[in-house]
Amino acid sequence: MRALLFSFLCGLAPVLSTGAADQLRVVSFSTVLTEIAEQVGGPHTKVAGLVIAGEDPHEYQPTPADLDQVSQANLVLLSGKQIEHYLDKIQQATGGKVDALSVGDQLPSLQLPPNPDEEKAAASAEPNSTLEDPHWWHCIANVKKATTIVTDELIKLDPANQADYKKSAKAYLANLDQLDKWVRREIAELPRNRRKLVTSHDAFQYFAKDYGFTIYAIEGVSTDTEPSNRHVAELIDEIKKQGVKAIFLESTLNPKVTSEITRETGVRIGGTLYADGLGTGPASTYDGMVRLNVSTIVDALK
């Protein structure tokens, strides 16, 4: 009994000894990175997710209170790949003193042709120019790399607790491996010639590359532009030509145009996908979000 009590107290010791003052203050602008920091950091970190679950990161604007949290952080996690259009405000808030880690910028990029409906892209578009797809979290291998990047940074800032960070990261990475296996099995039920995904905006190219899908997106990589009538008409033609079975809504977008396309084509709505990060309920974890997206896609296109 004494031995049991001793082991219990030993297990509790790291938690009790980590007071709020000792914790690393981490601020995250990505729901996925928030989860990684919480899972790997455990009791040694206090993580504040400023872009919250269900919020559109393309539309997010930091408030003065958010910038105040940024200025007091030990580590700022950025999604990167140009999704944080407010980066200058963050740099001003930190005055260059805080460690801002742009995780996505260290991951492989998919380059997409610019969508003619996206004003900014069109204005700067040169022949053969491309846009960087910021939705890297739809590739599980990228999330594994992001986990390693965040773990290394936590160890750099707090080397005394590196054993705990490594142990937590190992467990999280093992779960991601299991998740990838599950996804491959589920998607194998869908014949490859039926893997055609019509989505509200162009957020699933990393997923498409990994699992053999072709994407037909209503909007471009960002959600801040409305699709033109011409683009919608072309998309309707393509949906008919390709014999697409279902189209998908997104949790953070207005389904108006999607509904118009279903009226014109007779294709049904396949469900709602989580495109821009974690959601609520079963999609409030990365594992849950991926499983929900994959089940919705496979059920609708089977």
């Binding site: 296996k181 491959r184 099995r185 998607i187 194998a188 039920e189 869908l190 014949p191 490859r192 010639n193 893997r195 053999g212 949906i239 008919k240 030509k241 390709q242 014999g243 697409v244 079975k245 009226r263 014109e264 084509t265 007779g266 294709v267 049904r268 089977k302």
Partner: protein, 143 residues
Amino acid sequence: MRGSPLIRALLVLIVLAALLVPLRRMTSKQRPLPAPLQNSSQPTVPNKRFHLELTCTTSPFKYQITYSGQTIWKGYETAATAQIDLNLDFPPEGVDLVMDVAWDEKKPTAVKLVVSPPDDEETSQTAWGTTNVSEVITVRPSK
């Protein structure tokens, strides 16, 4: 009601005739929504004969191979290798086969599935496990 029976009958006929159009609209079949897309110009998927060979370093073992959610080959093998020839739809995008293999003796084991299309390069995949393996193997036309 007074008046000539002929005029009364005529009035009834006029009322019935006026009701005919809305009644027909209400009772006739609704205009259908646009039909779900079936593109007749889409090519039919070619069906080809494949040779499958499954090798497991621990025997006996039981196995199941599925294609688009359907079991296409399953069995129990006491030798190290099982093989079969079967027909599969083989679209230009390729196919995913799910391989599930399990054995009784708990020990590190390698399982290899070789898929040979009739006029194309073979595809193979090896997986390791201690009691079972579950893997997806993708076979694509090389040409």
